[in-house]
Symmetry: C3
Subunit: 181 residues, 3 copies
């Protein structure tokens, strides 16, 4: 059996943006997005300046952490709750009328645990219109949250959650259908 050797880790295909842009974002993310101020409009403005697509009527709470705003698209009337962490090494696309509740985390990077070099792999995540990601939930690479699906609070998702379904637990499993009336 081979062993992992992280000294051999290389990452030539991961080009998430120029060094200057990433360095500037590092500072702006700390000052204006992760910080405690309450102003959604300031967060939205700064994110858009760095290339995020954000629709109208969105709410972005304090303490949010965004890896690369130029790889983030958010629709209209979507809420990003307090301390949400969008670790978007690659594209994260969030639809309209989505609620991502407080403390939820979205992860897009995985590793080849079957390779000596532990290569990074990237997995875009899509959260479709009307979905709800509950508080403290964790959305792992390769997941997809289809329209109006619900991820229960604290659930850990390794899966494609079909539309209008509610999933719960770790690993999450189907709980019941979502009926809106």
């Amino acid at each position: 059996m081979k062993n992992v050797d992280l000294s051999k880790f290389v990452n030539p295909n991961y080009q998430p943006g120029s060094f200057l842009k990433r360095s500037l974002w590092f500072v702006f993310n700390s000052l204006f997005i992760k910080s405690s101020h309450p102003f959604t409009s300031l967060r939205t403005f700064v994110l858009k300046v760095f290339g995020a697509q954000i629709g109208k009527g969105c709410v972005i709470r304090p303490g949010v952490n965004i890896k690369h705003p130029w790889l983030l698209a958010i629709g209209d009337h979507t809420w990003i709750g307090e301390n949400v962490w969008i670790d978007n090494l690659t594209d994260v696309s969030i639809g309209s009328h989505v609620c991502i509740s407080q403390g939820a985390t979205i992860i897009t990077g995985n590793h080849r645990w079957d390779k000596e070099g532990f290569d990074l792999t990237l997995h875009p995540i899509t959260i479709e219109n009307g979905a709800w990601i509950g508080a403290k939930a964790v959305i792992l690479p390769g997941s997809k949250i289809e329209t109006h699906a619900v991820v229960s609070g604290g659930a850990v998702i390794h899966a494609i959650i079909p539309s209008f379904e509610i999933w719960q637990g770790n690993p999450a499993t189907f709980l019941k259908k979502r009926i809106i009336n």
Copy 2:
């Protein structure tokens, strides 16, 4: 099937305190409660000035995040660990001799996922005397932790945990009885 429309979200019955009080708390929470200083007595003093009921002999660690102190009651000799998050949109009542370990989260707000307008619903949470909430546990709306119950580290609670019972997992299930001798 109807869709969610967050542009229709209204919240007329949610009146957690005057705008002035909430704004002042927003600043004081950042400066004196969530911050890194080690002084329990300063945290207790500031929380009480904003209306929290806190008994004698309590310990409140750095990095704690409290939503509305005027909706928080804590008994005597209770410990609130580092980075605990009490998101008390409504009343949270914590008894005496309770330990809430580091990184635990208490959530009181839910949404009507079965309604187009995604109405907010509030669920007071009670944690009774002698209970222990383990590190990184998540207590979800509608839960109750009865006297001397134990929530294991990282557990996610959607339930009423009976007195002197230990629960574990996500969703948490009964593990064993707590016998104190």
Copy 3:
């Protein structure tokens, strides 16, 4: 049945370092380790000054929280991800070529929930060479992660994870073997 009485909690055997050293570390941890700056070499330097053993080629990301650096040993070419929390009240030993992904938490302190005085108990944690702790995982007291074991994202560990095994869920269970080729 007896009740817990936290006013009787005493901790005479817990001597993690002099008051001066712990106080200084409290400040340096906030300023140089938990803070947002991106410089691994600064983090490594400060940790070593306070007694941590850290090998060559390690990466330590922003937002990391270390309780007592003098109780921390890390091998070569190991990565400590963003916002990792090592709550090492006692020894935490991390091997070489280990990846601890973003947001993971390592807990070493437990309590005698079967005693009126709720005595603190300490449990050193070892994470052996080549292991991978996934994002947002929680490693609880008494756990051991053997060489090249993998803890899935968000998993909660109360166990000894055998070498070259992948575990998932809360409580975590065996998923499959790790084959590296």
